[in-house]
Amino acid sequence: MNRGHPNHERLSVRDFSAFREADLEFVPGINAFVGQNGTGKTHLMQMLYVWQYLFSREGDPDLKDLLQREFRPDHLDQLVNLSAERPATAVVQGCLGGSDWDIAIAANGSRNDVVPVMANSVPFDVRRPVFIPALDMIGHTQGFATLYDEYRVDFSQSHRDLVGLLMGPEKRSLEPAAAEALAILSGRLGGELALEGERFYIRNDLGSLPITLTAEGIRKAAVLSRLIATGWLSAGATLFWDEPETNLNPSMMDEMVAALLALSRGGVQIFIATHSYVMLKELDLQSRQTDTLRLFSFEGTANGTRVRMFDRLADLTPNAILDQYNSLYDRDLTRATGRKRTGATLR
């Protein structure tokens, strides 16, 4: 469904990170990456983020510098798949808004040999992307931007970028979809989210509470709310969210997913990397026929991570999350029956 905004359409990787070869086709709505740790989900999102940042021309960034700051390797050739026989080249090819792009990273002894190639013209209306990392940042805003800009600290560029976006001014009015998403989240905050200086507070009848004293689940809702209120998540935007379920009470999952779906219906393309069956099931249950949702299973194999695409949760395979539940259930029944699944009796 073409909604008139430049979207990520596809990505192909060869010998990049955990991948020997993978091809992904994205939807304009919600793209969910599912798989075990170490299968490269976050790295793919980071690569999409880097390239879209470059396309957005915010601050005229340098690709090598951006890759270095985002992935933080000792040397960029560490992004080349470790199993690929040296000399090797990682190739990442994507398409954003109809424009193809390529990055080649060589591991051939010449460190930091990175070649960006753009095959087509660059669309002019690419928005600056939004990346929410797994690590909470809304509780670390005070002094962080200055610290990052002046010193070498071990945080990705996306952490710094998020803090900058959170500190921006609020919009006077919001698009209907954004307003709907904000309304869904507002009830969970327990008050009004306010910025004083470089620190966030939750204000209610009981007073003003620094956000550092709130639960991390509340802070997750606060991050999404702030990004909506400041206009960063409106039609045409792209959101990358790494493990949205981390430290989030399952009881909040339905509102979080409802907000994400509202944003996607309003024209935000969303990428999430998740380990949560509850989150996937909420997406499955709350999505409508008109929503576009695609699931990508990431499976570690001897030949690198294998990626498969599905449009229904019921078809997702392998489903690493459900496999873990099945493993727990299997052990539960073994203990209860005194018999293993093989029929062998426990002694």
Partner: protein
């Protein structure tokens, strides 16, 4: 209970599910006259004497053969609703207690470890998280300072046949 020793073919059918207990020391229908004869309180379907312990089996088939296809969705929803609401758990617990009380008061109590199995069909591969939650709910009020162990589990036919291959089960098509 039937006298010890391998009996004749002990194949029972309950709600369209056939279970073969021929390999057991004994097996009875709890409510039948030549079983325990419990017509007083809700009780389990089958009481089986395994080598060192007892198996009490309750069968629940929410999609019996002959159910029109147009009713299957509603039946599935009702089944999941019963799992989530706790009504199935309450029912299963009640049957356990009814069986225990009946056997005690009729002098048939056998204080050996009991494994209480709720055999439910059909299930989906994605039902395991819900079944684990049901297992936890079933167990919590059954924990106590009992003289012998009581364990409880809810499972489908696939799990039953994998773990109790000596008592094979099958669902009618």
């Amino acid at each position: 209970m039937r006298p010890a020793g391998r009996g004749p073919a002990l194949r029972f059918v309950e709600s369209g599910i056939t279970l073969d207990f021929a390999a057991a020391r004994s097996a009875v229908r709890h409510d039948s006259a030549d079983g325990h004869g419990n017509r007083v309180w809700p009780g389990v379907d089958f009481c089986v004497e395994d080598d060192a312990e007892l198996l009490w089996v309750e069968v629940k088939n929410w999609q019996p053969s002959g159910l029109p296809a147009r009713l299957r969705g509603a039946k599935r929803r009702a089944f999941v609703g019963a799992l989530k609401s706790g009504s199935l758990v309450r029912g299963l617990r009640g049957k356990f207690l009814g069986t225990t009380a009946f056997l005690a008061w009729t002098g048939q109590a056998d204080l050996r470890p009991v494994r209480y199995i709720a055999l439910v069909e059909p299930l989906r591969p994605t039902d395991s998280p819900l079944l684990m939650a049901v297992n936890d709910r079933l167990r919590s009020p059954m924990a106590g300072p009992w003289r012998c162990g009581i364990t409880v589990a809810i499972m489908g036919l696939a799990e039953w046949n994998a773990r109790f291959s000596d008592y094979p089960g099958a669902a009618s098509p």
